[in-house]
């Protein structure tokens, strides 16, 4: 049972345009969400996060939107640059239930390609 789903395995966007990556989750206990970026032959790198008490978090060109009623979040990249070409993973955690360490459930990833 996949609790976090990224239904688009790949996305191609022209440089300068907006990239929108989507993620859906099924577990209503998730209250903290993250996006990671992964280049080939490297580990995932943290990009941006959002707590369930917010519906938007912005960091430079990156904005994450959370729609709790739809159990959906999205990552917007504006404007898209060639260096943004990578695999993007959505991840979720149920911090409120955790007495110990944070445990992440990842989606399968979306490969973003920015075309010049």
């Amino acid at each position: 049972d996949q609790q976090v789903k990224q239904n688009s395995p790949s996305l191609s966007v022209q440089e300068g345009r907006i990239s929108i990556l989507n993620c859906d989750y099924t577990n209503s206990m998730f209250d903290y969400f993250l996006w990671y970026k992964k280049y080939p032959a490297e580990g995932p790198t943290f990009l941006i996060s959002i707590s369930s008490i917010k519906d938007k978090n912005e960091d430079g060109r990156f904005t994450v939107f959370l729609n709790k009623s739809a159990k959906h979040l999205s990552l917007h990249i504006v404007p898209s640059q060639p260096g943004d070409s990578a695999v993007y993973f959505c991840a979720a955690s149920a911090l409120g239930l955790i007495q110990g360490a944070q445990k992440l459930v990842f989606g399968q990833g979306t490969r973003l390609t920015i075309n010049p």
């Binding site: 903290y32 995932p44 943290f46 996060s49 911090l95 360490a101 944070q102 445990k103």
Partner: protein, 115 residues
């Protein structure tokens, strides 16, 4: 720079021959994680250490074990690797302080091949 280092980057072992993957960190994080990632799939948490406390995921095979001799190092031991264990293994660290969790920092992974 503070970082998470995994050695080796590529490991080839024979079917059934024990193998150990290594992870070290200079971040002084109190939590260390091991994930398994198969091709085009999501990283899957195998287990983690919160300080010295070991936490195994319910569906992690008994074939997989871990050791954390000190804060900086964590090892993944695969006792009898099968062909299905061929994957990328990712180590990650984070700091838990009270209810606050920092985002996890990942190493670059070890790609394990089974002959």
């Amino acid at each position: 720079d503070a970082m998470v280092i995994q050695n080796p980057r590529y490991q080839v072992t024979q079917f059934g021959k024990p193998v150990t993957l290594s992870c070290s960190q200079t971040l002084n994080h109190n939590v260390m994680y091991w994930y398994q990632q198969k091709s085009s799939q999501a990283p899957k948490l195998l287990f983690h250490y919160y300080d010295k406390d070991f936490n195994n995921e319910a569906d992690t095979p008994d074939n997989f074990q871990s050791r954390r001799p000190n804060t900086s190092f964590c090892f993944l031991d695969i006792r009898s690797p099968g062909l299905g264990d061929a994957a990328m293994y990712l180590c990650a660290t984070s700091r838990r302080h009270g209810r606050f969790n920092q985002p996890q920092h990942f190493g670059d992974g070890t790609r394990l091949s089974i002959l």
